[in-house]
C-alpha cells in the first residue's frame, strides 16, 4: 500500500515535470502517434476488405465452380451439368416447387473510374429469377429491375459510386452493344454492390455464351452442405468444386489480406523499433535531466523499485497518449473511407476502411509495449545510480 502510494506520487511528480521538457517528450508522443496511426490505418483497410467479403454470402448457400478454378471468372458450367446440380436432393425448393438454383454468368466490362478517369474492370453478372429469390438482401433502391429479353442492366450502389455514367437513365456501351441502366441496387454492403447485373438469358445470347460461370444453390439447411458437396464431387458426370458461399468470398480476399498483413508486420516492426528508440531517447534524457531529483528522492529513502516503476509508468503514459492520438487520428481520417481494389478476379471491389474497437485496442497494446521497453532501460539506469555520485552532479 505504502509502496503503491509512493509509486503513484512519483509518477505524478514525473508527469508534472513533463511541461518543462516538452521538446524531448514530444518525440515519444509524436513517434507513437505516427506508428499507431499508420499501423491502424493499414489494418483497418484489411479489416474493411475482409468485412465486405465476409458479409457476402449466406451459410445457407453454396457455390459450384468448375473443378480447379479458384474464381467464378475462370469457371465454366455447362447447361447439362447445371441440370444435374439442380437435381441434387440437398437443394431447397422454391414456392413454385422449382429448385432454388441459379446458374450465373460473370463477364468483365471496362468502364472509366470516376476517381482517375482511366478504364477499370467492372464485373457484370447474369442472374435469373432464382438468383433474386435466393438473395433477399438484394434490394432495388432506385428505378426498377431489368426485364428479361431487353438490353437492360441494374447497377450496384458501389459500382455507381466508382464508375462514370452508370446512373439510372443512362445508356452504356458494353462489349459492342448498347445497354440501358434501369435501376440501382444494394446488397447489404457486400461485394455484389460493386457489380452490374443483367438478365442471365439476355446475357447468354448477347455475349454468345452457352452455359454458366457458376451455380449458386440454396441448401435445404446449412447442415446439408456436406451431403450436397459429396453428392456432386463423387458424381462421374461432373467435375466441380463446391464451396460454401461465405468461404468462397472470404477466399477472394485472402491474397489481399496476406499482402496487408505482411505490410503491417514489416512497417510495424520498422516503425515500432524507431518508436522504441524515440522512447528510449526521451526517457534517457528525462532520467538525465532528473539525475539530482532522483538521487535526492533516493537519499530521502525512496526505494529503487519505486523509481524504476515510476519511470516505466511515465514512459507508458506518454506512449499511451501517443497511441491514443494515433488511433483516434486513424479513426477520424480513415474510418468509413471508401476505396476500391482489384479483387482476385481482377475486378474492382469497393470497401470501406474499418477502424474497429479491436484495432484501437491493438494500437494501445502496441504503444504500451513500446512505452514499457522504452522506459525499462532508462529506469534501470536511474535505479542503479550511485546516490552519492549523482548528488555531486548538482
Amino acid at each position: 500500500m505504502k509502496f503503491l502510494t509512493q509509486t503513484l506520487q512519483l509518477i505524478l511528480i514525473n508527469l508534472k515535470s513533463i511541461p518543462g521538457r516538452w521538446g524531448a517528450t514530444l518525440v515519444i508522443v509524436v513517434g507513437l502517434a505516427g506508428v499507431v496511426g499508420v499501423v491502424t490505418a493499414l489494418q483497418s483497410m484489411s479489416a474493411g476488405m475482409v468485412a465486405t467479403l465476409r458479409s457476402t454470402g449466406s451459410p445457407n448457400r453454396a457455390i459450384v465452380l468448375k473443378g480447379g478454378s479458384n474464381s467464378e471468372l475462370s469457371s465454366f458450367i455447362t447447361r447439362d451439368q447445371a441440370v444435374v446440380i439442380e437435381q441434387s436432393e440437398s437443394v431447397a425448393k422454391g414456392t413454385d416447387g422449382k429448385a432454388l438454383a441459379s446458374g450465373e454468368l460473370i463477364l468483365i466490362a471496362e468502364r472509366p473510374l470516376r476517381r482517375s478517369n482511366t478504364d477499370s474492370n467492372v464485373s457484370m453478372r447474369g442472374v435469373g429469377a432464382a438468383g433474386f429469390a435466393m438473395r433477399p438482401e438484394v434490394k432495388i433502391i432506385n428505378g426498377r429491375a431489368f426485364k428479361p429479353g431487353l438490353q437492360e442492366i441494374i447497377v450496384g450502389a458501389k459500382a455507381l459510386e466508382q464508375f462514370v455514367g452508370l446512373e439510372v437513365g443512362s445508356s452504356v456501351q458494353i462489349r459492342g452493344s448498347q445497354w440501358a441502366v434501369v435501376g440501382t441496387f444494394t446488397s447489404n454492403g457486400d461485394a455484389h454492390e460493386s457489380e452490374v447485373w443483367v438478365d442471365i438469358e439476355t446475357a447468354q445470347s448477347a455475349f454468345r455464351r452457352n452455359g454458366y460461370s457458376s451455380m449458386l444453390v440454396q441448401l435445404a439447411e446449412p447442415s446439408a452442405f456436406e451431403a450436397f458437396k459429396d453428392g456432386l464431387t463423387t458424381d462421374p458426370r461432373l467435375q466441380v468444386d463446391v464451396l460454401n458461399e461465405i468461404d468462397y468470398f472470404s477466399s477472394q480476399s485472402r491474397s489481399f489480406t496476406r499482402i496487408i498483413g505482411v505490410l503491417v508486420t514489416v512497417v510495424g516492426i520498422i516503425m515500432g523499433l524507431g518508436a522504441i528508440f524515440a522512447a528510449l531517447n526521451t526517457m534517457y534524457s528525462a532520467v538525465a535531466a532528473r539525475t539530482v531529483e532522483i538521487a535526492t528522492l533516493r537519499a530521502l529513502g525512496f526505494g529503487g523499485a519505486v523509481v524504476v516503476l515510476a519511470t516505466i509508468a511515465e514512459a507508458m503514459v506518454l506512449a499511451l497518449l501517443g497511441g491514443a492520438i494515433g488511433g483516434l487520428g486513424a479513426y477520424a481520417f480513415f474510418n468509413g473511407y471508401t476505396v476500391s481494389t482489384l479483387g482476385a478476379g481482377f475486378t474492382q471491389i469497393a470497401f470501406s476502411f474499418r477502424v474497429t474497437p479491436s484495432l484501437l485496442v491493438t494500437g494501445m497494446i502496441l504503444s504500451l509495449l513500446v512505452g514499457f521497453l522504452g522506459g525499462f532501460f532508462p529506469a534501470l539506469r536511474a535505479a542503479r545510480m550511485q546516490i552519492a555520485t549523482a548528488l555531486r552532479a548538482a
Binding site: K2, T5, Q6, Q9, I13, K16, S17, G20, V292, E293, T296, L297, R298, A299, L300, G301, F302, G303, G304, Q386, I387, A388, L391, R392, A394
Partner: protein
C-alpha cells in the same frame, strides 16, 4: 562509557579509478554525542562530503565500523539502508535539492510518504515543520517562487518533518549571502538548542562554524584538529 550517538571506528573509504586506488578517508575514528551541533571544516577535497555521506548512510565505507544509535549501518543492504535513512536522517544540501514541480508543502511532505502516517497527520506535520522554519505563509509556493534562503528553509523543514535522529547538512549556506546564511544558521542553532536536534554540518565558512557547538578540521582524509565531544 560515553554513549555517543554516532560512533566511527577505523573507517576508510577508497575509490578505484582504473588501476589507481585513491584513499579518501583513512582509519578515521570519531564520536558524536547526541545533541551536538558539529561543524566539519577543511580544504576542498579533504573528504568532508565523503565522511558526511557515510554518516548519513548515502554511501558505505571500504573498511571500519559506523554505528548510529548503537546500530551498525555499514553492514546494511542498500534497501535496508534506504529504510534506515528514511527513519533516521534528515538531509540538507548546498543547492537545496527541492523538486521544482512541487509546492513547498509537497516537498516537505515527501519523507512522510515513506511512513504510515495518514494524510491528515502528514498535513499536520508538514504545517508544523513549515512553522518551525517560519514559512507557513509560503506553503503553496513553488521553489522558483522562493528566494535561496527560503528554499533552504523549506529544505530544512523537509529534513525535520520526519523527526530524524540526525540532521546532516553539506554546506547549507554555501550558496547564500552573509545575511541569509546567518538566518539559516540561526535556524539550525535554534533546532539544536531548543529542539535537541543533533546536527552535523560541513562548511568552508569559519563564521558559519561559529554557530556550531563543536568544530573539527579535516585534511587529506584525516581529522587534524578541533574539539570533538
Amino acid at each position: 562509557m560515553t554513549t555517543a550517538l554516532v560512533s566511527i571506528r577505523g573507517v576508510s573509504k577508497r575509490y578505484t579509478r582504473g588501476k589507481q586506488t585513491v584513499e579518501v578517508l583513512s582509519h578515521l575514528d570519531l564520536d558524536i554525542a547526541s545533541g551536538d551541533f558539529l561543524a566539519l571544516m577543511g580544504p576542498s577535497g579533504s573528504g568532508k562530503t565523503t565522511l558526511l555521506n557515510l554518516i548519513g548512510g548515502l554511501d558505505q565505507p571500504s573498511g571500519g565500523e559506523i554505528r548510529v544509535n548503537d546500530q551498525r549501518i555499514d553492514t546494511l543492504s542498500s534497501g535496508a539502508l534506504a529504510r534506515w535513512r528514511a527513519r533516521h536522517v534528515g538531509f540538507v544540501f548546498q543547492f537545496y535539492n527541492l523538486l521544482p514541480v512541487l509546492s513547498a508543502e509537497a516537498n516537505v511532505e515527501l519523507p512522510l510518504l515513506l511512513t504510515d502516517l495518514s494524510k491528515a497527520q502528514r498535513k499536520k506535520n508538514v504545517a508544523a515543520a513549515l512553522a518551525v522554519v517560519g514559512l507557513s505563509d509560503r506553503a503553496t509556493h513553488k521553489p522558483n517562487e522562493l528566494s535561496g534562503g527560503q528554499q533552504q528553509r523549506v529544505a530544512i523543514a523537509r529534513a525535520l518533518v520526519g523527526d530524524p535522529t540526525l540532521l546532516v547538512c553539506d554546506e547549507p549556506t554555501g550558496d547564500l549571502d552573509r545575511k541569509t546564511a546567518d538566518e539559516v544558521l540561526t535556524l539550525l542553532q535554534d533546532l539544536n538548542r531548543n529542539y535537541g536536534k543533533t546536527i552535523i554540518m560541513v562548511t568552508h565558512d569559519a563564521k558559519a562554524a561559529e554557530f556550531a557547538t563543536h568544530r573539527l578540521q579535516m585534511d587529506k582524509g584525516a581529522l587534524v584538529a578541533g574539539e570533538a565531544a
